[in-house]
Amino acid sequence: MTVSFERRLTRDWDDPKVIGIDGYCAKGGYEALRNALNMEPSEIVETVKTAGLRGRGGAGFPTGTKWSFVPTDTGKPTYVVVNFDESEPGTCNNRELVDRDPHRLLEGTAIAALAIGCRTAFVYVRGEYLAQSLVLERAIREAYDGGYLGRGIAGTDVDLDVVLHRGAGAYICGEETALLSSLEGFRGQPRLRPPFPAVEGLYASPTVINNVETLMSVPDIILRGPEWFRQLGTEKSPGTKLFTISGKVERPGNYELPLGTPLRVLLEDVAGGVLGGRPLKAWTPGGSSTPLLTGDHIDTALDYESVAAAGSLLGTGAVMVLDDTDCVVDAAQRMTRFYAHESCGKCTPCREGTWWAERVLGRVADGYGVEDDLPVIEDLGRNIMFRAFCALADGAAAVLQSSLKHFRDEFEEHVRLGRCPFRAAHEEVAV
């Protein structure tokens, strides 16, 4: 099977001129914003709803529906916050989207702002994206100079400011309520929902928070209409998505594909197959927080429903590939270490459970594990999953549960041999 479709989000990636506002406008940039300025806010929301666009930040929540929750009669200002914290391990499509097409993000953000009557939007960019924050800073300056931001945008009486806010190295700040805490100048810890940000978000005002890729999908929906958007993808997961594929793969990268494209096509046809032609052993469909799948799942279609049916989650669409020489216990240990490090410390199952799991996994990985360690790992997974304050912990539990579910024999072999069977194998490969 080959893939042939009209590229959307990546169609101008070969043209570095679109990074500047003139190049962007030459390709029809900011036309969607002009159209949106002639639409009623409710019409914008309806259009995005009909298109069926779903949030690309991981949860897949319908974007138009989220916008429709924002009350506009509270007398408080409303805010759009762009979630450019992109820190889910394995994920880098937001980065490349901004690097190559920054104005599309500003245009999508401006349209979202029109939809909810927002006059000040914020972009929360992870601190490590220093280069991308400069790309955005420049694009924002150009948009102000070009009259698409600031007072009276595109010759209307609508004002819109965009403020860039840099994070400082905390994965949890991608979680929407933690992001708001951080943006308000507090430690980045999640808050109780409800109230949801749509009702009480930034500065206790109605707020829409969307992922970069979500917002960048909006201008085309306004310009070409919901029917056009639905021509690709599946009924319930319409449109295209950027998949990041990394790890043991011939051509790692960010690739746009219609939702519902099987992993086999992404891996073999698009990314050149597993590195060195080795067998596919395990993969994450959407970053390290989504349960591992195996080589047997290679024909899983990459859309929200199909990946869920296979026992995992589409998440951010970040596929990390392990081949038959990679140790799953090692990988689980490394992923768990991430959650132990990034746990914000607010609640016990996550703070203590990830710390404990990392150590038990480390012991097994290094060949010092005992038989009883496996039930301990299982128990930790069970006691963390859905029992902590936010979904960071569910991601941590997903690693524990899925690695044991699919690769229990490998854990047992570590315990039986008293060493990692793969470390020796690696050395043999090396000579």
């Binding site: 992109e86 690097d99 490590e128 400069l134 400082a168 790890g247 392990l322 991430f338």
Partner: protein
């Protein structure tokens, strides 16, 4: 001697002005970067001064500064070398790159900064460049597909007071300069 005085104090006011009226507390993160750009770390005096600017207690500011890994509360090397060892990078050999970085930078076991004060080497979580793993950031400028050998070359270049060209974005000469960029300010002498 105060950390934020003269031109730095003016910049601090500019930073506070970016946020809506009555929401000045939001400026705490860029202000901490500004403090970090002066001494290469967030000093106690700096915390107190940020608190003074925002009308907060030092403890409130410290609570924020200690939450985020990109604020360093102890002196750093001139250059901060971050090596990603999360899964996608480790699958591509990041452990060896990290070991090479520590060895070349002469950061000894249990130390954060090399004896000559030039380098801090840090193991990092996913840097969002898994497509070009193994990933390294030097003063938050990216270097792609870094082998142990390339890592040693990069450290050698910094020792020779060269600023290696990053894979994308501008070259950043030091951790202090990076902190200025992160505060949303221009670096003197750097191309715009």
């Amino acid at each position: 001697m105060p950390v934020l005085e003269g031109a730095r104090l003016d910049e601090a006011k500019e930073i506070v002005g970016r946020y809506p009226e009555g929401r000045e507390r939001s400026a705490i993160m860029p202000l901490l970067y500004l403090v970090q750009s002066v001494d290469g770390f967030v000093s106690r005096d700096g915390l107190t001064e940020v608190a003074g600017i925002l009308g907060l207690t030092t403890a409130e500011v410290e609570a924020v500064a200690t939450f985020y890994t990109m604020y360093r509360l102890r002196p750093t090397g001139t250059h901060v070398v971050n090596v990603c060892t999360n899964l996608a990078c480790t699958l591509r050999g990041a452990r060896e790159v990290y070991d090479a970085a520590r060895e070349a930078a002469e950061v000894r076991h249990g130390q954060e900064v090399s004896d000559d004060g030039l380098f801090t080497v840090h193991e990092e979580e996913c840097l969002g460049v898994c497509d070009v793993a193994p990933a390294v950031q030097i003063n938050f400028a990216n270097h792609d597909r870094v082998s142990p050998e390339r890592m040693r070359e990069l450290v050698a270049a910094l020792r020779a007071q060269e600023v290696p060209d990053p894979a994308r974005g501008p070259a950043v000469g030091s951790f202090r300069d990076a902190s200025r960029v992160l505060a949303g300010l221009e670096v003197e002498g750097a191309p715009a």
